[in-house]
Assembly symmetry: C2
Homo-oligomer: 323 residues x 2
Amino acid sequence: MVSIKDVAKKANVSISSVSNALNGRANVSEETRKRIVEIAKEMNYYPNTMARNLKVKRTKTVALCFSEFDRNFYFQIIKGINDCVVHNGYDLIICAHHSIEKFLRNGFIDGAMVLDKNVSDELILSAVSDELPIVVLDRELEGKNIYSVVVDNYRAMRDLVNELIVKGYTRFSYVSGVEHTQDNIERYEGMKDTLNEKGIEFISKNYYHGDFTEKSGYQSAKLMIISKNIPEVVICANDNMAIGVIKAFKESDIRIPEDVSVIGFDDIELANYLEPHLTTISTPKYEWGMYAATILFRILVEHEESIIPNKIQANIRWRQTSR
Amino acid sequence: MVSIKDVAKKANVSISSVSNALNGRANVSEETRKRIVEIAKEMNYYPNTMARNLKVKRTKTVALCFSEFDRNFYFQIIKGINDCVVHNGYDLIICAHHSIEKFLRNGFIDGAMVLDKNVSDELILSAVSDELPIVVLDRELEGKNIYSVVVDNYRAMRDLVNELIVKGYTRFSYVSGVEHTQDNIERYEGMKDTLNEKGIEFISKNYYHGDFTEKSGYQSAKLMIISKNIPEVVICANDNMAIGVIKAFKESDIRIPEDVSVIGFDDIELANYLEPHLTTISTPKYEWGMYAATILFRILVEHEESIIPNKIQANIRWRQTSR
DNA sequence: TTGTAAGCGTTATCAT
DNA sequence: ATGATAACGCTTACAA
């Protein structure tokens, strides 16, 4: 690996002149600057980032902690993040939760985003600092230099249920995601509260325990069928479970939406390709990522303080699985 | 940021003792070792990776260059890569083509993988070295310390066409991907050569110019319909175009597979959810990534030389869009 | 305009 | 067993 020393030797100047020349500083004659640049290029010299970062404190790199490569739901979020990062002239590295400590602790990054449930709150709270603001997308977390950018599940669900009631639906079932997750709780509460307000009681036998997987949706619907407890509409805590629900109903020749409506949450790519197309709540993934990164840069480059991020608003996509 | 110096001061020892203690070296008494470890923990000390890497040459980090966050086809590949990297005790960073130079040039990584057409061959060839082996997944590239792990498109297509001929198909159409891409060329050649061998001439009016997008598949099928040139089977250079083709046929009430069969390539997630389920060629994505990373580690940790990677074999998934 | 030298946070060599 | 000290490759005051 060719170092600044090698370039200096070949150019017959001191290393500081090389540094100055290459960093476009004024204190070097145009003539030598040219020569140095040329020699550097011809020697294929690139400054060692680590050595540089050891000196200057800014690295112009931010990290995204992410490891759920199974769920392609996330990739539009990442795209949004990436576009914003590039636009700000920074570099993005994505690393899995296994590696995040390595990057969080050591001044290699100027800021971070977290989209990985495997990372504990404690880790985040212990890593965050004035020199390392963190934006989290997968939880709500309070603290100095920490910013949460999450979807407003509760409100989206309220909007949905209100509209369903207007359409005349009264008998609801709910297929839950993993019980203790914030997403699931907010989505469920949104539904329940709205029903209650409208004088519709939600009884617990219409609550089915899922875990966000297609399979758990399938099994929940099977249960409805066996127990002859088919509602007018089944609201699923996410699309994957809705897909499972639909599959089970289809197998029993229960028509959608004539016999029962099915509604998901997330608006994954599949939702619009299924037969029938899935009515769901669309979280604007690209904008979500973009906004999260924007928040980070408002701190990083604008040095804004006391930002309170807005929640991301999700919207209903009426399609064919509902009337 | 607390440094080794701070720990040394607080523990009343020299920095070398701290370093030795924390790195589990023998030349430090058990007693002081314990004290130092304790103090380090209580001070929340983590060694600065960059400073360390400046000294020792191994970073135990590899990079994946990737930026097509639009095509979720890729994510299982990344998962395979990530699992292998973690299994070897390394860290993975994923960075987009914009940033790759920064990491390729500066000794921050021990090795790299490339899955990004935006990276030029020249860049790869100029960055590769004994200290930085590179595995490419998206092209075939020759050179010292460069290894290509690609899918055997040609063979898969030969297998497919041979079986189709056995099934009695004789009238083929082909919807191409972006013309000059290796994937497209190999897939097309595989089809054409096999047909020729079996005495079936492939005429150019049955070749439709697509670009791997659903839309281009849709338009190609529209063209077939308008020109009343519907074959027995249309082979698409990827699944997305097959989806477009199917959509167009459906709109014209052309039945699949009764009137025409449609076959894709890739086996994206959608393929198995479409109605009818798409017959396609499945590239084992997880294994592909896993294998590519494995090659890298055979060089990195086993110091193997002169490895000639096998091509990844793809397999036909007979489903409902073909007879 | 140019060069010298200190320092960033480590590890490693060599005295002690 | 412990501690100075050089070195990694760079930036940056400061001196020349």
